[in-house]
Assembly symmetry: C2
Homo-oligomer: 380 residues x 2
């Protein structure tokens, strides 16, 4: 890859919203904060904004570093930067932490202004629809009427799709990657096991663990270990770990296989960083999203008012959100005679492939994004 130019040092910003936001559940957030980052420069006619929507454990910190000393850059740094496929010399890129998150936006871990204590269990259930509505508020505050593009992978792809439904005239292009129009029963099942691991952890305390000075670390660790199995393909796991042993067989329940070591490491790391209440809400948002539900399961009808052009992308080895699920979106769009490009990328890494700098994958994104017109002339 030639595009190793990072955006460099970045800093998050916080937007405060004092108008109440009514959520899909009926609950109302009287006020809320969204933390976000931007990369590149908004052009004169504000036609070059690209919104990046994050997935389950993502954040607003998409690219660059906060200090030179940071070990890792933002989570999609391989995609976003000067000269990269999502080129910050051309686009003004926005990363935002979703409502209910644990990285600065209002969520269970943030202070409930009404009580002066962390929201905890009282923080409402947020949905993909709510996220998109709150993101639209952020664009309003940034005086951006229309996005050149919205892009997201997995749960982020659901948000990109929802943008085209909820705000058809505010999105010119939607890039929906490794996503699905709703979860399958198996997807829901994995989420439910993860949630039950957290909720039944004695240190969960009904979601109000903050005031007990503990976190449901064991449950969150199990949830993340399980998640990791579904992010990787069977083949990728076989390739990377196979049946490799750490050492001589010990006949016990400590780590014997490399695979176990990897999972425990991932679980421990995540459980020390992420908020369990946020994890619960992110998985629930995934479960609930189903734009076709209001149309008797007819996805074409749900997408009939969209005006965006679409790039839908899937990965051959992704069994969490398989190519067949992306093709459902494509079919529904074609039924409506919408403009849609579809690519099924041959990749070994499973669902995680959307985060990786696969050459073919990035070439598709680069080409698609380079064809988006910005600056005065952005006829659709």
């Amino acid at each position: 890859m030639s595009e190793n130019n990072s955006i460099g040092i970045v800093a998050p910003q916080t937007a405060h919203f004092s108008e109440p936001l009514t959520l899909k559940s009926g609950a109302v957030l009287a006020q809320f904060n969204l933390v976000y980052e931007t990369y590149g420069t908004l052009n004169a006619d504000k036609s070059n904004a690209v919104l990046i929507c994050h997935a389950l454990s993502g954040t607003h910190h998409v690219a660059g570093k906060y200090t030179e000393q940071d070990k890792y850059p933002g989570w999609w740094d391989n995609l976003v930067g000067p000269g990269k496929p999502l080129d910050t010399n051309k686009f003004f890129v926005i990363g935002v932490n979703n409502l209910g998150g644990c990285h600065g936006s209002s969520g269970p871990v943030s202070i409930n202004p009404a009580t002066g204590k962390p929201w905890g269990s009282a923080f409402p259930i947020v949905t993909v629809e709510d996220w998109v509505n709150s993101q639209a508020r952020l664009l309003d505050q940034l005086s951006i009427t229309q996005l050149a593009a919205v892009i997201g992978g997995s749960l982020g792809g659901m948000q990109a799709l929802q943008w085209t439904i909820a705000y058809p005239d505010r999105v010119r292009h939607a890039l929906v990657i490794a996503s699905a129009p709703n979860l399958t029963a198996q997807n829901i099942a994995f989420n439910e096991v993860a949630r039950q691991a957290i909720i039944t952890d004695p240190e969960f305390h009904g979601g109000d663990y903050y005031e007990h000075g503990v976190v449901p670390r064991r449950g969150l660790r199990i949830a993340r270990m399980l998640g990791h199995i579904t992010y990787l393909s069977d083949d990728a796991m076989g390739e990377k770990f196979g049946r490799k042993l750490k050492d001589d067989i010990k006949y016990g329940f400590n780590v014997e296989f490399e695979m176990e070591s990897y999972l425990r490491y991932q679980g421990d790391k995540f459980a020390g960083e992420f908020d369990a209440n946020t994890y619960l809400r992110m998985t629930r948002a995934l479960d609930y999203y189903d734009p076709a539900l209001a149309y008797n399961g007819d996805l074409s009808k749900a997408l009939s008012q969209t005006q965006a052009k679409f790039l839908v992308l899937s990965f051959t080895s992704d069994w969490r959100f398989s190519p067949a699920r992306s093709r459902e979106i494509v079919k529904a769009l074609l039924d409506n005679e919408s403009t849609v490009s579809y690519a099924e990328v041959t990749a070994a890494h499973g669902h995680d492939a959307f985060l990786m700098p696969d050459k073919h994958y990035h070439a598709i994104l680069r080409t698609y994004l380079s064809n988006i017109e910005v600056g005065g002339n952005h006829a659709k």
Copy 2:
């Protein structure tokens, strides 16, 4: 199905073994018990014995009921009985609870004769090899020199395979169903998440929970919920549950989807019945089994001394032990010019298909088993 004739009322028996058994780990069981059941009649020359090996959560109670009032018969009652595919009018069928189990054979929950207390964490790790050795002792006690057949699904199939390796002259036929010559990294990963859920349950107490008057119910529940996802195919789950809601959406973490309700029910039920230490040991036995390991990964070499004839069976929708894994066994046997029949049964139910009375599946078993000669004339 016409074969609804149950074997009727059955009763378990217990065999005691006072000769020490050295396990693969090097640990020695000074004495042990195996609980078992038999159906049908051993013929004069003892040539009609069929051993059924159970899988992760199976038992010796394969067929029939203990009382007329029993709600359910044994776990493979649809296969075993008079006139059924494994016909008890012809065969003398033996079901045995494996060492380390929790249904009467020596295991963590049974009393350690050396201490007068439950074995708990002190019960050694048992392997597929150990199980087969202990089963051979049971045959010795029953004066059965040679099995007409050994049959098992999943982990039971591994035992059937191991019988042909460890006791080549004691098995005429091996029926290896929905099994694999070893676990993949993904299989190990699922087992590891299940184990970690149990081991990190605060009520696990290092495996010695019996003396604390508790059980690691939460962990075992999570383990079982996860297991159930892997037993069913994505399609079967979609067919059975899809995105069906229990009721109106409540926006919370209680059951919303039918899928969740099913998983919680299965988890709760199992956690109230099964022993967590046994679950740990069963999954570890799965992880460790790898007969090719001693032959540099060459399965053909590992199987080169077998004398049995084989029926290998897989199910198209089984993603836990996929048909490709069965074909590895078939290929290794063919490399050795062993006699092997292979069938890949089109079935929607995933791994669980091996327990179900699928017409095509049972027809194959019926035909194969009916061709096994017993009684004086059982030339191979």
